[in-house]
């Protein structure tokens, strides 16, 4: 299968010069299908603080809050946006139980000038700035609006329970 030059270039840069806290690697048998990891941003409930504190081995510190995702570049890419979802469970108002993400640039605000890298950085930013006014997981959004501190506590619990490297 011939792969468009743009996808080859983006892939090379993702591997050679990854964005901080983000990895993306294509599958050997499908170069449009990527395994992705995103580290929860510092100071957010998606940063796994306990793993950092409890690890006796300093080299294990990278294991804080690492979320697994999958990304697919459809036939029409870059005229259509990539498809992305979380594989790690996450308690976030804009991410549903099946890991689907509510983010404008993945839908009507997509532009061919955006790239895989910018998409993944936007998802990382969404972890720092949940938007309960445009919810996908309505129960989580309600929790965030009514009692943000308690909702963040649950988000932290889920991060510790599910988001391991």
């Amino acid at each position: 299968m011939s792969l468009p030059k743009r996808i080859i270039k983006e892939t090379e840069r993702l591997v050679a010069d990854p964005a901080p806290g983000i990895t993306a690697a294509p599958h050997d048998d499908n170069l449009r299908y990527f395994d992705v990891t995103i580290q929860g941003p510092d100071g957010s409930p998606f940063q796994n603080l306990s793993a950092r504190r409890l690890s006796p081995d300093p080299s294990q510190n990278y294991s804080d809050g690492v979320f697994r995702l999958e990304l697919f570049l459809p036939e029409e890419y870059p005229m259509s946006p990539p498809k992305v979802r979380f594989l790690t469970k996450i308690y976030h108002p804009n991410i549903d139980k099946l890991g689907r993400i509510c983010l404008d640039i993945l839908k009507d605000k997509w532009s061919p000038a955006l790239q895989i890298r910018t998409v993944l950085l936007s998802i990382q930013a969404l972890l720092s700035a949940p938007n309960p006014d445009d919810p996908l997981a309505t129960d989580v959004a309600k929790h965030y609006k009514e009692n943000e501190a308690d909702a963040q506590r649950v988000s932290r619990e889920w991060t510790e329970k599910y988001a391991h490297a």
């Binding site: 299968m1 011939s2 599958h27 499908n30 449009r32 299908y33 999958e70 697919f72 570049l73 459809p74 036939e75 498809k83 979802r85 594989l87 469970k89 139980k97 099946l98 890991g99 689907r100």
Partner: protein, 154 residues
């Protein structure tokens, strides 16, 4: 997805509930046209789920996840409304059914006896499977088969 059914609400239908289990490695991927992007299993299933949630065709077949938390989307429920003018009309049951490709022990479908499963390819979908089962129910050989009492399950 309803598990029990209201007879008044659907007076002339038979509803067959089927459980579908999909392998994690299920080969939707076994063949592909060389120039087209190959849609990975999970993104393909997300598309099917969205289609199933909206409702398809004339409503005679429907499907959805058994558990909305099933992140690998491996377990599905399907519902078939029995075709008219067959023994499957005017009956209402959950699961138990007498058809040549359904084991009378546990209700499992024998993939070798159902052409759509025996000759699987990635262009087939959950919807295709349900529509094909419904077509089998309406076929000359199966339309008058004696059926178990209504309400029985495997």
């Amino acid at each position: 997805m309803p598990t029990t059914l209201n007879r008044e609400a659907t007076p002339q239908t038979l509803l067959l509930h089927a459980l579908l289990q999909l392998s994690r490695h299920l080969s939707f991927a076994s063949f592909t046209t060389p120039t087209m992007a190959k849609i990975p299993r999970n993104f393909r299933l997300l598309e099917e789920l969205e289609k199933g949630e909206k409702g398809i065709g004339d409503g005679s077949c429907s499907y959805g996840l058994e558990d909305s938390d099933d992140i690998m989307m491996s377990h599905w429920n399907g519902t078939i409304i029995g075709p008219g003018h067959t023994v499957h009309e005017n009956l209402q049951f959950v699961s138990r059914v007498n058809l040549p490709f359904v084991s009378q022990v546990d209700g499992k479908v024998d993939p070798n006896k159902l052409p759509v499963l025996a000759h699987w390819n990635r262009n087939h979908s959950i919807e295709t499977v349900l529509v094909e089962i419904r077509r089998e129910m309406a076929s000359f050989n199966n339309r008058k088969l004696p059926q178990p009492p209504e309400g029985s399950t495997f």
